[in-house]
């Protein structure tokens, strides 16, 4: 089975063909936004970091920005810096270069102020867009797809309908040779043994258990209680009692196939099949991590409803809650509430989700894209100094 995608010079395949403007630092975010304002096909990242960062924290910010530039949904990249930041535009651009796309970088201090930077940036972006428009979609095997999975605003329907349906779709994609990323490590607490059991090797199984133990230890080390954050108040109102219950409902979305690899935040997968990326349960942190890791498309299940979208990729929203599907119909792409009434099987709902993934990968717009919802948030792991 195939979808219609954009083949890149490095062999990777995109489902969108955006020109991306990356501010390497928060100071150039305003210019980046102005460069892309009302320019169809151009997007920017609302990056609020990129200065006064050291060590692993700086590396994580850089890796995430570079991952977005490298992502095959991006045709070409303009990096905008200020000039004195400790994550310079040039360094970000050079790290994206191996993806073989057209790259430019400019700095506000060097160009001579905001107005000139915006004018120069818009000129570059318009050239890039003209080049992008000449690239046609072509038939691509599904094995090239990397699907990010996510759940948020969960309620009782998430574990009973939308996550099992997404799991069935995940299995179909893995069977077609594709890749599925499962994330939100904190929401595996209480279900890790089930995932570890499916690991390709004892070593990978051990990595799963170690990750969950680390997050649980960190939560306890705050002197607080993970229950203050997870399950969230809305989860509890929706009938979810404990983190274990939330996790058990949550892991359905990864399907039933073998866990091939565990990767750290915003790192690309080196295997195909089911992958676990270590991320927080925070919706936008994890979505950002998976996109930086090379996912071209996401399916996001929700019970209570959520507007989440990505600057560079379609995010398909599905819900098993009939009321949410009705109340938030401008956000929810697919409703799978019939599963709860026994009127549709999980397998049938899963096939619908899978078909929607293929259609959206081939160009159909997700509702989050139509709304212009472009969430971006890097998982920060250190202090700004």
């Amino acid at each position: 089975m195939e979808f219609q995608g954009y083949r890149r010079a490095n062999g990777k395949v995109g489902v969108r063909n955006h020109v991306l403007v990356i501010p390497s630092v928060v100071c150039s975010q305003g210019a980046a936004e102005a460069i892309t304002r009302n320019v169809k096909g151009a997007v920017y990242l609302p990056n609020v970091f990129g200065c006064a960062q050291v060590g692993a924290d700086r590396e994580q910010t850089k890796r995430t920005l570079v991952g977005f530039g490298t992502n095959p949904n991006i045709f070409s990249v303009l990096v905008v810096g200020n000039g004195c930041e400790n994550l310079p535009a040039k360094e970000v651009a050079e790290a994206i270069a191996p993806s073989k796309k057209r790259l430019e970088y400019i700095e506000i201090q060097e160009v001579g102020g905001t107005k000139k930077t915006i004018a120069k940036g818009r000129k570059i972006v318009k050239e890039m867009l003209a080049e992008a428009a000449a690239l046609p979609r072509e038939p691509i095997p599904l094995s090239e797809l990397i699907l990010a999975t996510e759940c948020g605003g969960s309620d009782y329907t998430s574990g009973l309908a939308s996550n099992p349906a997404l799991g069935a779709a995940s299995d179909l994609l893995v069977q077609a040779g594709g890749t599925v990323i499962l994330s939100e490590t904190t929401e595996l607490i209480g279900a890790e043994h089930l995932l570890a059991r499916r690991a390709k090797s004892p070593e990978i199984g051990r990595q799963v258990l170690d990750l969950i133990a680390w997050w649980e230890k960190e939560a306890i080390a705050t002197g607080q209680d993970i229950r203050g954050a997870n399950p969230a108040p809305g989860n509890i109102a929706g009938g979810i009692t404990t983190i274990e219950e939330k996790s058990l409902g949550c892991i359905y979305k990864g399907g039933t196939t073998t866990l091939e690899e565990v990767v750290k935040y915003a790192f690309p997968a080196t295997k195909k099949g089911l992958i676990l990326m270590d991320t927080p349960g925070h919706d936008i942190d994890q979505l950002t991590g998976m996109m930086a890791g090379g996912a071209q498309i996401a399916v996001f299940t929700t019970g209570r409803g959520t507007p989440t979208g990505s600057p560079i990729a379609p995010v398909i929203k599905i819900s098993g809650n009939a009321e949410t599907c009705r109340k938030m119909k401008d956000n929810i792409d697919l409703c799978v509430s019939q599963v709860l009434q026994g009127k549709e099987t999980v397998k049938e709902a899963g096939k619908r989700v899978f078909d929607e993934v293929v259609a959206v990968a081939s160009g159909k717009l997700s509702k989050a894209e139509k709304l212009g919802q472009r969430d971006f948030c890097i998982f920060k792991i250190g202090l700004n100094f």
Partner: protein
């Protein structure tokens, strides 16, 4: 999963069911567990999506859903009673549990 049932039991090991519509105290719910029909009389009102006990659960023992423990009871829970944060606590991510 049974068609048109008012509540769902996911796994045969479960000692709770999930209501898929709001239900009143005193009402009786028919449930299908592994092909057998069971009737449970509700002792408390159950909001949509919330859980009730399928059998008596002693204090300090596991609440089981999806066939796995989701926490332990902080009080004895009677068959038909609402099972939620007021009488269940997580095993995990808690300072006291470490």
């Amino acid at each position: 999963m049974a068609a048109k049932s008012k509540a769902i039991v996911i796994n045969e090991k479960d000692n709770v069911a999930t209501a898929i519509m709001p239900m009143k105290a005193g009402s009786a719910v028919s449930l299908v567990v592994q092909g057998r029909t069971e009737k449970v009389k509700l002792l408390s009102p159950i909001p949509m999506g919330h859980k009730f006990a399928l059998r008596d659960i002693e204090q300090g023992t596991d609440v089981v859903k999806y066939g796995e423990p989701i926490g332990k009871t902080t009080a004895r829970i009677a068959r038909g009673e609402h099972v939620h944060v007021h009488n269940v606590i997580s095993h995990r991510g808690r300072k006291e549990a470490a």
